[in-house]
């Protein structure tokens, strides 16, 4: 950036509004959710029926088994299960 015009600084700041707070908090929960995610993946590797249910309907399968289907866990599981 050259010049550092005040108006230009304001314009650039406006380009980065915050996303919804719950999105950020969900992504920040990933380290805490890791144990849960690892457990679900391990179970899916050992139980083909469970894995098939997860692959078919991830969120509802998690809820049916009593796992939290939070956005970050769902995203991480899609990645780990190769369904994303």
């Amino acid at each position: 950036m050259t010049g550092y015009d005040i108006e230009r600084i304001g314009e650039l700041l406006r380009l980065l509004p915050p996303p919804p707070g719950e999105w950020v908090r969900a992504a920040q929960e990933l380290p805490q959710a890791r144990v849960e995610i690892d457990g679900i993946v391990a179970r899916a590797e050992a139980d083909a029926v469970f894995r098939a249910r997860l692959v078919a309907h991830l969120e509802s399968a998690l809820e049916a088994e009593g796992y939290p289907a939070t956005p970050s866990i769902v995203a991480a599981l899609r990645l780990r299960l190769g369904t994303g």
Binding site: G10, L12, L13, R14, P18, P19, S72, A76
Partner: protein, 209 residues
């Protein structure tokens, strides 16, 4: 009772007392280590430092969001899916990053790919990678966002209270009145504080160039 206000950059609106209270109660995210470089954050994340992970997500959340919503114009639902997927990938594959300094271009690339996937999955016409004009527009948007991230880094370095005042005004689109209420400052002093803080930020940015 509704209180009318007019801010100096042409926005009109009104704020109910309930909204003012909500604004005051909003917890305001503060950088854990504003001076940590991207590479330092990545290194600490690899060591399992959850505070560093929180900071990394906080630092890049606006970037990912802006790419999804401004560059690719995704709707809220698709944008959230991309947002969560990108950070899940970053968390899982941080070990693969060859250079810790390259975290931002890596996140940009991940987000870009996931946005294109999302557009294709929804059957919408996305920016075609083969279309020179659209690619040029995208590149221009990415360049502006990178520049905005540099200003954002300067804002973190400037520190409080300027960081919060400028963020509330420019990024969160809050009025002088709302900022004054949130920070317990006279609304009549907010314009001059914004002006002083912009000068401070400009000085910080010039010092970096």
């Amino acid at each position: 009772m509704r209180v009318a206000f007019v801010s100096t950059h042409g926005r009109h609106g009104d704020v109910t007392p309930r909204r003012m209270t909500a604004l005051r109660r909003t917890s305001y995210p503060r950088p854990v280590a504003a001076t940590a470089t991207d590479a330092q954050l990545v290194s600490r994340c690899r060591d399992g430092d959850t505070e560093a992970w929180n900071e990394l997500v906080e630092r890049f959340s606006r970037y990912v969001y802006a790419i999804a919503v401004q560059a690719f114009r995704l709707g809220p639902h698709d944008a959230e899916d991309v947002f969560q997927d990108v950070f899940a990938r970053v968390y899982q594959h941080l070990e693969r990053l060859r250079s810790d300094e390259a975290i931002r271009p890596w996140i940009a690339q991940l987000t870009r790919r996931r946005c294109i996937d999302s557009l294709r999955a929804s059957g919408r016409e996305g920016p075609a990678e083969t279309d020179d004009l659209e690619v040029a527009e995208l590149d221009e948007t990415f360049a502006r966002l990178d520049e905005a991230m540099a200003v954002r880094a300067g804002l973190d370095a400037v520190g409080e209270p300027c960081r919060e005042i400028l963020d509330r005004f420019f990024c969160r689109d809050e009025s002088y009145r709302a900022i004054g209420e949130a920070l317990d400052l006279p609304a009549g002093t907010i314009a001059s504080r914004i002006s002083r803080c912009l000068g401070k930020l400009r000085g910080e940015l010039e010092g970096r160039s």
